[in-house]
Point group: D4
């Protein structure tokens, strides 16, 4: 509509109904504000759609089941893919009523509705973790990556205190284009993995543990201080963030 | 120049040399990028000048005397007022060579060159502190406020452990339009002052003290938890920031 | 009453019933103690009333519904305006019985009873925040500012990760006399806003987020370290405090 | 009994029934271990009894009502005074069955049974606090001091943001031999009080507040960094500890 | 003088020269301000002198030798006792020129000039510490207590890892009226000492140690969490503060 | 089986059915991967079994009763000893159905099923703690050590604030080959114990306490800064870890 | 050589000189250890070379100029590319004597010697920062990326407090395949940048700032809590690490 | 002598020179105090000598070269072994003058003089570390263990980011009776090592690293949260402490 307004203005200039001087003033006003409002809005959204076919992600945390179902219904209605993170069985019960094709991932605490034209990533993403307590975070990462168009390989139960299990999966490590490593407690697994591969490793500290694990801070610090090349870190328990970064890399 | 380009385009439209459709395309391109570059740049700077007559402040920290003198010389050359914070006698020696009218504030560790047309604030700003060790921070706040066009009253040696000294200066507290309070150690002075006045109090934690003062953190926390109304806080030792906020309020 | 006692004493001196020497002793006793008790009390309250028409605010946290209703009833009975913060539906049920004209602000978790002669602020206060999880804190700030006599404009859903939404509201940013910015997570919004305006920005860290947000500490640190001029900070989630500071500035 | 055993041994030596060499051996054995066990135990208890008539205090935290009643019953049965801290109505219900004369202090969350021969302290202890949320801690301190034989004066609602209320109670401040000051948030009250008196001030940080109060840490740091003479500090919320220290000083 | 002004006013009232109404107004003005200025000022200073004969202590930290000598000279000139803490040999060289009778305490980093009429404390103060690295803090406490009129007993080299040394000095522990315990590292000595005596223990964390001692924080936390009765704590390395508190108790 | 495959390959080489070149290739493939998978796996497990007869420990935290019972049933079925830590009565109810001989340790929150051929340690392990609130952690350590084949002596109620109780148990301290000391609050007990014995002391900080105990951090720091020789530390509340280390030392 | 040994063994088996049973034993020995030593070593190094042509990076921190020159000389001698980080002019003086073609990057504090056959990345890497104090870290990232075979675009002086400068460079932001953003103080720049682009953003907190910046912790927390998609974080001041990750992504 | 005094007393009792009653009083006095002084003192020292032949270790930190030489001279003069930690070349120059046979360990910053009759440990102690920056701490541990009578094997350059180097040394890992692992940065090496062996692992965090390593805190937390069995931890950089613990275990 902004563009059609402009068109009308230019038509008026050509027709001599508006003189160039006052047209300059009116365009300058548009220059001053429009790009931030309309064009800007369009461009960013456009970018977001182009890169992932994913205009919006719903963070379930702190929203009521009704609010989540409301948003999800509108997304599903316009045919877009859907991802709700940090959600609950109650929210799932509400969402399935408005989006029958959606699916609930219990361990990941996520709801998804796959999009038909989400561009596919070039390789596969490996999501590795050590223990069963890391699984909710690892699954959030895996489900995020999948719904964004990536093949995901899940590697579980590979902790640094029993290296043989990790070393026994070298083939799978080497087959990945990007690796997400979730680890709690001392958070050493990303360093060990990064020392074995030649692709980027996204480290996710998990808030599992007790005492001096300080809700994942010990793992976070361990990962930030990794002595291995190729490790970068996201927030504690941020499986979604890791899935995003990995997907973005895998789509390059 | 952007505007003159636009004028030429509109003239060409009116003259029928450019058809409206392709003009729409060219204006859309301008809309997409120009405002960020030229107009945007101009506007923000313009704002900054309008509000304080102060287009630029030089943070001396981490700059060599030569770098500081170089920047200061260019500012002085275009007739603008000058403020260099966190500077040193060495930098001062270099600056005075290029800006003879500049002045060095030893305690504030600042260099100033007053501007002629800096707008004056409406009331006066009181800068209060408890001990001599708070003086460098208090003076940085005071000098900043002065060079930005404010009358400044300095109140020293008013600590919470000797209330009579503070209570003996109630007139000066009540005369101020904004009050900056610098305090280290337990940082309680802003709470006490704010309980006695009806104007905003900008609290500045000072890094003085030892042991569990943790370089000003104890004072910072004390100020953030103030039980008095009207207290807001800036970073530890940030006299400059407090002077800016106070000046901005005093110019409303 | 103190003043009338004094009047009776002076009348007695004039009438020769009390000799000046013993009158000096009695006045000295009053000097020694009264000002702290009665006059002092009156003066401070007087100040408080003069500036906001607001003698008392009730912090609901840790009080029972009965206690809150009791205090609220007495405030309402003497015709004063009322503000209860951090309260609950249960307290609201109890308060409405004793103050029928009071109103409950669900999102702000506040109860208000507007005063008839609260002085109006000079301009309007903009309360901006990024996400829906910041709303309770933003609303506490907005409701506080409103009940203290200010016009409030609410700007929501303007986060730094989607600048176009913020830049599209430049007019509203420029129309405000003071701006309150509530932000959780990285707390970057106040810096961006302060770079676009020429009025004071009161930053409120919100405790939303998880992991390394540490209950709002990440946002708090981000705000204290703001590289923009004019930003001062209040405690995490302290919407009330921000509303007070903003109102005080807006009444200058 | 240890002493009577010794007496019997020495009688046997004198009677020639035990030769000095083997008596040396037996005494040496006693020297090696007894003092730690019996004498040592007795002495320390003796000390404790002499100074406060208070051989034992029951920390209710983490004990079941039955456990508390069991201990309390045994203490009451031997006629000793009783103090149970951090307890609950449930424990109180159980204790009153075994110690009918005991009393429950709801706000202090304490159970007491006064002793008849507890030595009295020499002066009175003032317990001051700012707000209603500090009352549980202040009452724990007051009740502890009372059951240990001290006169206690309670001063409430004296915060640093409204100095007139504190200054209006100078007489009570000056009448105390020791002062306990409980404060949360910025924890500035002990500094202000200590600047007004010439007796020791025991500061107790309270865990009230939110955000950057960090559960009393802000108040704790404020008190540790007090710029006033005569302030020492106990743990956050440790009303009991403050009452003990104050009682000990008041009994000197 | 305030009182004589009042007398003149009352005389004028009696003489009918001033009518009671305007006299009420003038007295009210005095009530409003005088007590904070003159009476307040006088009273607090008077208190300070009465209790310790010690109107002023000079914190050497951050002052030049000249500044220290200047203050010290004026104190010595009016015959008052002198205490300079956290000072240096350079400051000492300057002070001895203006106060020949002063004395330098190298280990305590303090300068003293004993006062002739400082009131004596009632008992003796024991200053205990574990290792040689705690000595500067312990000596600052001891020198402070001595110059404030107390007998001081120094107990060194009594650490918790070699209990026999502490237990061998039980007599000296029992002879003290107040005990100051300085300890770094794990800061356990105050707990052990307090378990052996029946007098107040002032605990001073020392910043000695490395790694996870965090500049005395480990010791500070240990002391705040002491499981023994009668322990209160001052800031890290605050020997002066401990000496003050102990002296105040010893003068009760 | 890997070895038998190799045997078949070598037989085929000898028989001339496989030529050496392709055999080299096949062995190289085994070299590249097998050791990590099969041999590696076997060796590590073998080690674990040899040293403690303990192939697996179940951390109950975050597992459902069903999951725990499932794992426990399989362990019991193959005749292995069982240890479930951080478990609950509900899990115990489920486990006893599949492992009738198992035992529930309420205070330790652990389930055990002793193994018949667990090698015995050489001496006994002493588990000492101060208060009743440390008992769950101390019992977890004791139960862990017992099920791993060690004699355990339990020493309770020995705190640093009442040294006589600890000193009265010197014989038991001296009888141990390894000592585990659990302590909360100031965490000083390990230092005192280590000063009295000549064997390794494993210190376990307990999360008991309040305020500045910070969930066991104060005790942890105290233990890390121990001034006594022979102290090493495990995580807060990690009774299991301490039991493991002690058992490992006791089996040397 | 390992492989040739195996070949000789298999030849001997075929020739009947070694019987299969003892051959199994000898191969099992190789299986047990060789892969860790020789094959493993070779493989990992091989990986490292394949991916970056970069077998070794020298961290200059804590090494003497002689040590650095020694290592650098050996690397240069075998024709490999060289990167020394966190080095000094003194080390540079020593290195240039042994590697004449090396180059010193003063701002980055790095020494490089480009390799001839380092594989080139596919796109270009943008390194953005806000202020001059971030330049050493930004340059370390840029120099690292360059020597690892990437085209690097440097974008300076783009802070969040002056958005127009950043928005004026949208083209350069959109041209990059990976973006490294260095920021100190509040660390908000990566969030803003990530909101404008569709490629991965590597955030590097810089230790610039003072007071509550806590040596880069404020920036680190801000980045970890970024509300924008696609941001991952490396350690404070870790320009090298960011360069590595970015190069690894750019080589995919 | 105490015992002979007792003998004389008992002889006097038998001889009728002292009556039992007063003898009871005199023995009770001995009971009350002697054990703490003489017996206690003797026993503890005796223990220390018996277990390591090592009555004293000199912490060089904070002592002048003269003080160190003085203590070292006296130790050497009585023929005892000597260990000075955290010392300097200057102290070494002073010590060698008084103890010609002493030796300086530059990397370990230690001075030793081996004792002739120090009992030997039963196995060998492995000291492992990752990088050259860990060497001072690792050497302090190794030198401590050696002078206390242990065989020490040093394993260097085994980091988790290049597992092949560690796995290539499995034989040396398996040969040790106790293992000390020094690691900075993420501190993951002890977990990996403990997963490969069946002996106790003493973990020593090193303060190497920068940024979020926080002077060794990241490594410390990593080690405390180790997911491997058998790991216990000492203070940051505490090589001496680790050497002590390991030696104590190796002497069992």
């Amino acid at each position: 509509m902004t563009m059609s307004e402009l068109r009308r203005l230019l038509d008026a200039v050509r027709a001599g109904e508006v003189d160039p001087d006052s047209a300059v003033g009116r365009v300058r006003d548009m220059l001053r504000r429009a790009p931030f409002e309309d064009l800007g809005f369009a461009r960013v959204d456009h970018h977001r759609e182009i890169r992932q076919g994913f205009p919006e992600v719903v963070l379930g945390l702190g929203k009521t089941p009704e609010q989540i179902a409301d948003i999800a219904g509108r997304i599903a209605a316009r045919g877009s893919p859907l991802l709700v993170t940090r959600t609950s069985p109650e929210a799932w019960a509400a969402v399935r009523r408005v989006a029958a094709a959606a699916r609930y991932h219990e361990q990941a605490r996520a709801i998804t509705l796959p999009g038909t034209d989400v561009p596919r990533g070039h390789g596969s993403i490996l999501v590795a973790c050590a223990g069963t307590s890391d699984l909710p975070v690892a699954e959030e990462a895996a489900v995020t990556a999948e719904v964004m168009g990536n093949d995901v390989d899940r590697l579980r139960d590979v902790g640094v205190a029993g290296l043989h299990r990790l070393l026994g999966e070298l083939d799978r490590l080497h087959a990945a284009r990007v690796i997400i490593v979730v680890a709690g407690m001392e958070g050493a697994l990303p360093s060990v993995v990064a020392g074995l591969v030649s692709v980027p490793v996204i480290a996710v500290p998990a808030s599992v543990g007790y005492g001096a694990s300080f809700g994942g801070v010990a793992a976070l610090l361990g990962m930030l201080n990794s002595c291995a090349n190729g490790v970068s870190v996201v927030n504690i328990d941020n499986g979604y963030g890791a899935g995003c970064v990995a997907s973005m890399i895998n789509h390059l």
